[in-house]
Each structure stands twice: as structure tokens, then as C-alpha cells.
Symmetry: C2
């Protein structure tokens, strides 16, 4: 029987899972990444966990057909190389897919976490059965992934889905990319923290601000509502350009509940073509496991018929 392994190589934690041929998780490992020890130490950790999962698969009579890897940073899916890491040194141009699979006798594929999030939600989460889906991940920054015609869209340099760097307010706040008025500069977790601090004079985490807003705090509500408006504008642009069946919101803000989704859904019709004003915008369904389950989906997509 066929099996797959998914790896979520996050900044602080590694999650690995063994799944059966239908993608159902049968075994799961999670541990803290050896960040301080550098890339090679992290790879040794990953290979040790892989060895364990291959042993589990063998004991159950399962044959691992491939390994999918989610990486939190820019990668080249064609070569399986990490391009850089924002967190740890030593990752630049490291052929992670090949290095991980070496000696296990199976192929491995690498994708960035936003694209893996889209794949996971599409195959196992909120977007099952869609042909066209837009996934937006709103956390500290904003990323995204596009499924069109039932396939992930990579685009040049694997930069498709980078809605966080779409300009929504020319001349707006400075963004991490050096330009002004990107969606990320106005509607990310960091932007919420900045705006709340400016409005209230108090520093709070994004999670605290969302909780305050849900509890009725007026400054927090105003901040979250302004964020929802920018997200509606950005999502509206994606709907105009792709006309997806569904928009899935992942990351920390995907878990915000009605305090975010109510104003977001209320404002969206102002920003989409009238025929699509009913477009569904839903929270991601997989939560923390989006990465590892998306990595399983990545391996399944590559080993299934072309």
C-alpha cells in the first residue's frame, strides 16, 4: 500500500507526518527546531525523524511514494532548493528536497509555506472539490497561494499569490519590501499591532487585540474593522482577477472569528464585480496542521497521474 510523508519545516518547530494513500495521517512527530545550531543540525533532526517514520511505514507494510516539504521562506520548487531563510543562516541554495530524500530511495518536493497552505486547504480542508481557489495567509506578514484549473500556480520565481505585496494604498505605510502601501503594510498582524499602538498608545499583540475587539473594546474593534476593509479590498482584487470559487483565509487572522469575518464579508461586495458579490470567504479548516497536511498533498500531487 502506498504512503506519503509530509514535513512542515517551520521557523521554530518541525512537524512530520506519515499518511496513507488517501492522505489520512497515521503517525505524526513534532519537536523544537535546533535553530541555534544552524541548518545542518536541523537537517540531521529532520533525517532522524524521517528514519523513524520510514521504519513505521515498513512495519505496517506501507511503501512511501514520496516526501513533500513545506519551507517557511522562498524556494525553487523546480530544483528543490531553498533560496534563503529569514530565520537561520546556512540555508541559502541548499538543495533541501534532495538532501532530505537521500538514502531513502524516494523522491521529495519542496514548496513555500503559503503555496503548501493553499494545497492543504484545497485537498483536505475548506477548499475540497474546488477547481479554482484563492488562499490568503494573514499572520505577521501576508502571503497567498492560487489554485487555478485544479493546479497550483507558481508563476515566475514561484511568486504567484504574493497578495501581501499588492499595492492597495499608493503612498501608504512603508512595507518590509521597501515600497509603500502594500496590503501587508496595512492589514497584517504587524500592521494591526502598529495601528492599535498608534490609536491607543498601548502595545498589544495581535492575538490580544483580536480578543479585545471580540470583547467589545472600541479601539480594538476600530483597528480590526479597518484591517477587514483593507483585506476586503485585496481579496476583491483577487476575485476580480481569478474569479475563484472560494477564498480561504489562513494564518492567525483566519482564526479571528466574526470580529474579522463579519466586517470583511460586509465590505467585500464594494470591491468585487457585482456577479461575484456572493463569493464565499471562509476561515482555513486545517489550523496548525495546514503545513504538514499540505506537504502530504504536495507529495500526492506529484506522484498522482500528471
Amino acid at each position: 500500500m502506498t504512503a506519503y510523508i509530509g514535513i512542515d519545516k517551520g521557523g521554530t518547530r518541525h512537524t512530520l507526518a506519515l499518511a496513507d494513500g488517501a492522505g489520512t495521517v497515521m503517525d505524526r512527530r513534532q519537536y523544537a527546531a535546533a535553530r541555534a545550531a544552524g541548518a545542518q543540525a536541523e537537517i540531521a533532526q529532520l533525517r532522524a525523524a524521517l528514519t523513524e517514520l520510514f521504519a513505521v511505514a515498513a512495519a505496517r507494510g506501507l511503501e512511501v511514494a514520496g516526501i513533500g516539504v513545506s519551507f517557511g521562506g522562498p524556494v525553487d520548487p523546480a530544483s528543490g532548493e531553498v533560496l534563503m531563510s529569514h530565520h537561520v543562516a546556512g540555508w541559502e541554495h541548499l538543495p533541501l528536497a534532495r538532501v532530505l530524500a537521500e538514502g531513502f530511495g524516494v523522491p521529495a518536493w519542496l514548496e513555500n509555506d503559503a503555496n503548501v497552505g493553499a494545497l492543504g486547504e484545497w485537498r483536505f480542508g475548506a477548499g475540497r472539490g474546488c477547481q479554482d481557489l484563492f488562499y490568503i495567509n494573514v499572520g505577521t506578514g501576508i502571503g497567498g497561494g492560487v489554485i487555478a484549473n485544479g493546479r497550483l500556480v507558481h508563476g515566475v520565481m514561484n511568486l504567484a499569490g504574493e497578495i501581501g505585496h499588492m499595492t492597495v494604498q499608493p503612498g501608504g505605510p512603508l512595507c518590509t519590501c521597501g515600497r509603500h502601501g502594500c496590503l501587508e503594510s496595512l492589514a497584517s498582524g504587524s500592521a494591526i499591532e502598529r495601528q492599535y499602538r498608534e490609536r491607543s498608545g498601548t502595545a498589544r499583540s495581535g492575538r490580544e487585540i483580536l480578543a479585545l475587539a471580540a470583547a467589545g473594546d472600541p479601539v480594538a474593534r476600530e483597528t480590526v474593522s479597518a484591517t477587514a476593509d483593507w483585506l476586503a479590498l485585496g481579496i476583491g482584487a483577487a476575485v476580480s482577477l481569478f474569479s475563484p470559487e472560494l477564498v480561504v483565509v489562513g494564518g492567525g487572522l483566519g482564526e479571528a472569528g466574526p470580529v474579522l469575518f463579519e466586517p470583511l464579508r460586509r465590505r467585500l461586495p464594494d470591491y468585487v464585480i457585482p456577479q461575484r458579490r456572493e463569493v464565499r470567504v471562509v476561515p482555513a479548516a486545517l489550523g496548525y496542521d495546514a503545513g504538514v497536511r499540505g506537504a502530504i498533498a504536495l507529495a500526492m500531487d506529484h506522484t498522482a497521474a500528471p
Copy 2:
């Protein structure tokens, strides 16, 4: 030998062409549409022209494998139905693909003109060899088409590519769709005419304004430059979301030359992620024949391997 027929069913003219297996046009017909006489009269015209082209094909020993049809209005490609016409009554829910092909013994496929424009430029024009392309048609209105992973993206209700109705200035000018600040309300041919009239007090056609701008008229230059800025913002959004290899600008403004393309290319880096600041934006290559050649591409895509 295999052949294809392409039909460009425009508002005022019909263009039909017979192409060989490589898509090279071998025979071409063009005439004024019998608009005043209604949809059925136009269909009779089209079927008469098809009969002629089938006779030409037979005389040359060519076997027509399919017919592609471009229609200037909303269609349902899956059923081959016209949804409505903005120009002539009697088209609503007319199964145009089936009606045209009836009796000729070959399949026919229907697409809207913006998607056909994208297909034509991708297969025969400025976008040959690309896997990912964004096509924007700037005429009286603004439409567009998306090629991702080497396939046309339709999206729900065939509305993918509707960049004209992306909001770029919340609360901006009233658009034909009833909302405010769509790209079409700020950067279409109609918008140029309105802005020039407001600035100068004189009514001019879009073509005249482009010519005046090219000749150095300051008000016309200012108008075209403002248009280029909005187009850069809109195209920047498409680049952020798809990361296409190439952006092709068709329609009347695609023929504007440096007076439009220079400011457009100068402003674009402000609106795209830094890694893609060199993205190529080029005029469409097929000119008036984009429709009929795109319709040939449509037939070829459907009859080639899946």
C-alpha cells in the same frame, strides 16, 4: 490534413478565417454584421460564410477539426451559450456554438473576446512560449484574460481576468458596473475621454487624445500619463497575484506606443514586488486579427491532446 476555422463575432463586423493545422491563415472573410436585422439574421450570415470556408477546405483536401468562436459579451464556454449581448437583442441564452456547427459535422467552442485575445496572443502573438501570461485589453472598457500553467483560466462564471472591475480607488469615479473606482472608471478609453474633457473643456475621441499626447499637447499628455499610472497600479496587482512571465496590452490603448508605454513602464516598479520589477509589459502583436486568430487557437486547444 487538419484545419481549423476561427470566427470573430464582433459588434459591427464578422471575421472568419480558415487555418491549417499549424494555425496559419489560408482564407479569410470579413463583412458588416446585419445588426439591425437581429441575432437570427447574423447567424444566417455566419453560416453562409462557414459554408464557403468548408467548401474551400474541401477543395484543398483539408479536414476541419473544429470551429472556435469569439463573442463580444458574456458567454458560458462549458455549454457554448451566449449569456447576453450589449449590442443586439435575441442573443440571450442562444447556444451559439451548437447552432453554428449544426450540419457541418464538427465541434465548435465559444469564448468571450478578452479570453480569446489572451489565447491568440499566447499562441500566435506577443506571448508565444510563455507558461504564464496576463492579457489586458484596454478599449472603451477594460477586460483581460489569464493563462496560468499553460492553460486559460476561466474561473466561476467565466469571470477570471476581469481586471477592469478591480477597485483601484475606493470611492473613485462611478463605473458602468454601478460601483466606484474600478480600473475601468479611471483608465479605459472612455475614462481618458472624460478626463480630457474635464481638463480641457473640449470633447475628443480617445484616438485623437493619444495623437495629441504624442504630438506634445500638455493636457493630453497629462491625461495619458495619469491613465498610465492607474494601468501600472492595476497591472502591478496582476503581477503580484500571478507572477506572469509577460503582460500583454491589447485593445486601442495597446497601439498607443511610447506615449503610454513609457510612463507605464516607469511607474510599474512602484507597484510590483521588487523581485519582479523587470516584468515585461508589451503591446499586443496581432492587432485587429487577435479575435479571429484567438478563435483558431481556441479550436486548436480543444482538439489537441487533453
